[in-house]
Structure formats: structure tokens, C-alpha cells
Amino acid sequence: MLAVFFAILAILEIKNSVIDAFVLLTIAATFLKGAIVKKKSYELVGSMLATVFGVLMILAYMATKEFSFGILGVVTLPIFLIDLKNFKL
């Protein structure tokens, strides 16, 4: 589900920035691999990358007023926090 969401964001982002789209595709691939091998570690790292990228894109928007679909990466913050808690840290 998350893999599909980020793959769609990557496609939408290509017009704005190819490199931002590459980052979103990497995040999608991380979630996809996690789903295939059935390991939560990929979900944890994928959501961490998506959250950090989302925060960066918000800051970049504040600096340049240029929108990036990467901003939507912040929606994975709850998933990241839940996974982090599950790993008992």
C-alpha cells in the first residue's frame, strides 16, 4: 500500500524534479521490499526516510515556494513512531 502510494508520488514528481522523484521511488522500493520479504525493518527505515524527506521538502517550500510531492512523506510519521516503539527502543 505504502509502496504504491510513494510510487504514485514519484510519478507525479517527475515533472517537478527528477531527483526528488528518484528519492520517492527509493522510498517506494524500500516499502515494496519490506512487503515482499515480510520484514518490519524495511517499513521502519522507509518511513524514517519518508518523514525526513517530507520535513526537508516543507523547509524547502518555505525557502523557495516551490512545491514537491515529497512533502506528503510526513504522513508516515505515525508509522515510523509505532515501528520504533515496537522495536522497544
Binding site: V23, V45, A60
Partner: protein, 566 residues
């Protein structure tokens, strides 16, 4: 009392030094933070003690610069005590060094650091037994939390003991270390730690490199895009200040406004970029991710005679070549280090970007970003190509990478700030002083003897050197801009502006590409040359000037040739 601190890289020697002295030394979570010995003074029970933190080493064979520094120090300075810091996580490998210490006949205290990390991994060290076997006091610590530091202070006052175990050669050391570890280390069921969770993904054979590239892109966004409002604000401040002072008239105002403030200001406006870059890199470094990146890229870099550690200076080079060259200190192999220094000026620093933006934006408006990205990639390709040549001719030798992957940590704000500010401060000190001197010189040669640019020494120089660049069709003003770029690449655009060069008519598409390629490759700026001289010596500085100029000239000629042919 003088105490030397000895141990493998990344075992926490500097953190222990800070805990013992209340010092402010830069700590890292990356092997090779300490590249020179550093001293701190601590007072224990009223007794003044000088602690000397030596570079992290794996043996006293003195094959690398670090090992030579450590060995020479102990032999020549004869400290009263050696604090041998070892990591509880990897005790066996750390003990290879410990087993060489009896050679010096100096009392030793063994500090078993990072016991918390070891426990997390199910590793328990019996320190009492270890003390009995080695015949020296053993203290457990978690230096970054200050745990065990009071016990260590008491042990230091006790003075330590000369080790009773000694191994002459590497085979003996390996065997003995294994025997000792078998007796003192207990492995309880290895838990699936957070480090394992992260490593599974960050070191994934398919995702490792894309994740690294994504993180590097995030570093670039943070460095350039997010720092941009700060850079623009500083630029406005310096421009207004320079214009205000210069408007007062007179030689002193002109020197201050058009010379010093305009020149030094043109460099200081990039301080936010530099600081942001170092903050991002400090987070990656202190978190423990950077050594993983080094490990991931090692196989690619080794094809060109470099190793994974060359990646970090190359990445820093995109920000500024000066700190990048200083960052090569963590490369143990001297020949790899020199090769990494020599290729670093080919990494397009941020100062070259305004040149690309001006020329590509004017002559290739539709494909400007492609042209600029092409220049960045050309720099990387030429750097790797040059490294391959150097490592197979002048700097021949094998390359190998021995490094331990440190645990992941959540970096503290204090450590991130301390690390990034100390590097930024270094940049300010080094570049600021050189740029100040260069600014005065440029002001002088563009204002004297005639008082106008046309009749200045700079114009004379431009006209004198113009024939060398005649094959490229550049006029003397463009040549003068290139000469001014010798002081700092930012000044190239400023000079083109001052001389009112019409970029659209002064260049053909081929001569414009040749010009951008030339500015990418020709001699490094003065600050970079000063850094190369400090790190590699005069011989290599002269070599890099000659090599880069020749390469720039030949490639620019090639571009012109292809342009005429097309």
C-alpha cells in the same frame, strides 16, 4: 604527570579525554576523528595531569602516519602512564594492540569502553579476570554517558602497572588475544538489535546505494535550498555595506568597500551553505551511517585506486574544496590520501555554480540545468579518471580498507554543533585570511596605475595573457575574469560584471562550453591551494596546478575542435 591515550580508531578515546578533562574536543562516530595528537589538562584530587589523545591505530608497526605519530610519541616523550582504551564490542581485535604495550615498559591501565553497547549485543566482559590475565588494572566505562569515569580517575591516581603479557609477532598476538577472549568474554544469546534492523536495510545489496544517493540529495537540499534565504540575506548585507563605504569616495573607502568588504564578503556569504553542509554531514557521521556508506562504495572506488573513505572528501568538495581537502586526514593510506587531495579540485564547489548559471542560463536557456548537471558529472568522471592514472603511475600501490562499523547512535545537538562549528570555524580562519589578502591585491591591480579598469595592471595582464587563450576566442576581459578566479572562483562572475562583458555576444556556444569546462578544471583557488600545500606539501601543489591547467586547456581545445567540426 603525563598520560598517553592509546587505542584502535573509534573506541571513544576523545570522549574519555573530554570526560577526564571537561574538555571540548570534537568527538565522532567515525574512525579517524583524531588525526593528530591533542592534549587536555585534567585535575584529579588536586593533581594536575596532562592527557595526550593519540590517533587511533591498530598496531605499532608504524606503517601509517597515525601509527608513526603514536609510536614516536611514546618512545620519545615517555609518558608516565598509558590509558589503553578498548571497545568491549570487539575486544579480541583491540587486544592485538594491548599485547604490544609491554614493549614500552610503561605502566598501563586498560579502559574497557562501550560496555553498554556490548551488553545490548549479548557480550559480557569479565574485567577482573582480564586484569588478572594482563597484570594491569582494568576499568569499565561508558565514556559518552560518563559512567565509570570516577573509577578511572581513582585508577589513574593509582598509577597502573606494566603489562606482564607480551606477544612479539602478529601470529602470537592473534593466538593470545583469542585465548584471553575465550576466558573473559561471555556471549549470551545474541539479540536482534536496533543496529541489525537498520543495517539490514541500509546495507541491503539492492537498496543500499539508492538510499545513500537519496540521503546525499537530502544533504544537498539542506545545504543549498534551505540555506538560501540566509545566504541571500548575508549577500544583501555585504553588498549594501560595500556600496555604502565605497560611496564615501577616496582611496581608503575604495579599498575597504570595493576591495576588502566586497572580496571577503563574497566568501562569507557562503558561510550558511558551509555550516548547513557540515551540520548534515555531522548528523550522518555521528549517527554511525557514514562508515556504512564508505563500506557500500568501497568496491566502486577501489576500481579507480581509491577507497571508500575517499567518498566523503569528494562529497564535501561539492560544498567547498578547502574543508574537503582537510577531511582527507581520515584516510590512512598516504598514497590514497594524496590521490584524493589531487582530484578534489575537480569536484565542482559551490563557488563555480554562479559561473555555470550565468553562462548556461544565457547561452543555453532551454537546457541550462542539463548543461550544469553535465559539468558536475564531468568533474566527477575526470576526478576518477585522474585518480586511476595517479594510482597506476605516481602513487602506485595497493588499496585496502580496514574499518569497524560503529554502533548507530542518536546524535546529540551539542555534539553535532561542536563538530560542525569547529569545521566551519576552520574554514573561516583559513579561507578568510587568504581571501582578505587576495581581495586587497585584486583591488590594487584593478585600480592602479591609471585609476580605471582599462588602464589598470589587471588590464595589462589580461591583454598580455590573451594570446594564450586566443584558440578559444576569449577576449582580454574574459581572460582577466579567469585570472581573478585564481583568488576565488566567485570573483569570475563579479569581474565579468564589473568589466560589463555581454555574455550573449562574447561567447559562441562552443567557446561558452569551453569556458565553463575551463573554469571547472583550471587551477584551484588560492584557499584550496593553501589547503593542498598544508596537507600534501609544495611539490604536490605545483603538480596539481600544472596538471589541472594542462587538462583544462586540452579539453577546452577539444571542445573548440568539436564545435568547429560540428
Amino acid at each position: 604527570m603525563k598520560v598517553a591515550m592509546v587505542g584502535n580508531p573509534n573506541v571513544g578515546k576523545t570522549a574519555i579525554l573530554n570526560a577526564l578533562t571537561g574538555g571540548n574536543f570534537t568527538v565522532g562516530n567515525f574512525p579517524g576523528v583524531t588525526v593528530e595528537k591533542k592534549e587536555g589538562i585534567g585535575v584529579i584530587n588536586g593533581k594536575k595531569i596532562v592527557f595526550v589523545d593519540l590517533p587511533g591505530i591498530y598496531s605499532f608497526e608504524a606503517t601509517s602516519l597515525d601509527e608513526k605519530i603514536a609510536r614516536d610519541y611514546i618512545f620519545k616523550e615517555k609518558p608516565d602512564l598509558i590509558l589503553n582504551v578498548v571497545s568491549a564490542v570487539n575486544l579480541e581485535r583491540n587486544l592485538y594492540l594491548t599485547l604490544q604495550l609491554a614493549e614500552f615498559g610503561i605502566p598501563v591501565i586498560l579502559v574497557v569502553n562501550m560496555v553498554d553497547e556490548a551488553k545490548k549485543r549479548g557480550i559480557f566482559v569479565d574485567c577482573q579476570k582480564l586484569s588478572e590475565l594482563l597484570g594491569v588494572p582494568v576499568v569499565e566505562t561508558v565514556a559518552i554517558k560518563g559512567t565509570g569515569v570516577e573509577n578511572l580517575k581513582k585508577a589513574i591516581l593509582g598509577g597502573g602497572k606494566v603489562p606482564k603479557v607480551y606477544a612479539h609477532d602478529i601470529k602470537q598476538r592473534i593466538k593470545l588475544a583469542e585465548e584471553i577472549v575465550n576466558e573473559v568474554v561471555k556471549f549470551v544469546d545474541k539479540k536482534y538489535t536496533f543496529d541489525d534492523v537498520l543495517d539490514e536495510v541500509f546495507m541491503d545489496k539492492h537498496l543500499g546505494i539508492p538510499i545513500f544517493l537519496s540521503l546525499m540529495w537530502m544533504v544537498f537540499v539542506f545545504t543549498y535550498t534551505i540555506a538560501e534565504p540566509f545566504t541571500s540575506a548575508l549577500d544583501r548585507v555585504f553588498s549594501d555595506l560595500a556600496a555604502f563605504i565605497a560611496s564615501n569616495g577616496g582611496v581608503v573607502s575604495s579599498l575597504l568597500g570595493k576591495g576588502i568588504i566586497a572580496g571577503v564578503g563574497s566568501v562569507l556569504v557562503f558561510v550558511p551553505n558551509i555550516l548547513f553542509l557540515f551540520i548534515a554531514l555531522a548528523v550522518l557521521e555521528l549517527s554511525g551511517y557514514m562508515p556504512r556508506a564508505v563500506y557500500l562504495l568501497d568496491s566502486i572506488m577501489s576500481k579507480f585506486g581509491l577507497n571508500g573513505r575517499s567518498v566523503i572528501p569528494m562529497m564535501i568538495g561539492f560544498g567547498c574544496n578547502v574543508p574537503a581537502i582537510l577531511a582527507t586526514r581520515s584516510i590512512e593510506d598516504e598514497k590514497v590520501r594524496i590521490a584524493t587531495i589531487l582530484i578534489n579540485p575537480f569536484m565542482s564547489c559551490s563557488a563555480r555554480l554562479p559561473i555555470y548559471v550565468l553562462i548556461a542560463g544565457t547561452l543555453f536557456p532551454a537546457i541550462g540545468s542539463v548543461v550544469i548537471m553535465g559539468l558536475y558529472l564531468t568533474g566527477v568522471v575526470l576526478a576518477l579518471f585522474s585518480a586511476f592514472i595517479f594510482r597506476n603511475t605516481l602513487l602506485k600501490g595497493e588499496t585496502e580498507l580496514i574499518m569497524e562499523l560503529p554502533p548507530y547512535m542518536l546524535p546529540s545537538f551539542r555534539d553535532v554543533w561542536r563538530l560542525s562549528w569547529s569545521r566551519t570555524k576552520h574554514f573561516l580562519e583559513k579561507a578568510g585570511t587568504v581571501i582578505l589578502a587576495a581581495s586587497v591585491i585584486i583591488w590594487f591591480i584593478t585600480n592602479y596605475p591609471g585609476g580605471t579598469m582599462e588602464s589598470s595592471y589587471a588590464a595589462m595582464m589580461g591583454k598580455l595573457l590573451q594570446p594564450i587563450f586566443a584558440p578559444f576566442g576569449w577576449n582580454w576581459q574574459i581572460v582577466l575574469a579567469l585570472i581573478s578566479g585564481f583568488a576565488a572562483k566567485e570573483i569570475v562572475v563579479a569581474t565579468l560584471g564589473v568589466l560589463k562583458v555581454n555574455v550573449a555576444t562574447a561567447f559562441t556556444p562552443a567557446s561558452a562550453i569551453a569556458f565553463m569546462l575551463f573554469t571547472l578544471l583550471y587551477v584551484p583557488c588560492v584557499a584550496t591551494m593553501a589547503a593542498i600545500k598544508a596537507e600534501a606539501g609544495t611539490k604536490w601543489t605545483l603538480f596539481v596546478i600544472a596538471y589541472s591547467f594542462t587538462l583544462a586547456y586540452l579539453l577546452a581545445l577539444l571542445v573548440m575542435g568539436v564545435g568547429i567540426w560540428l
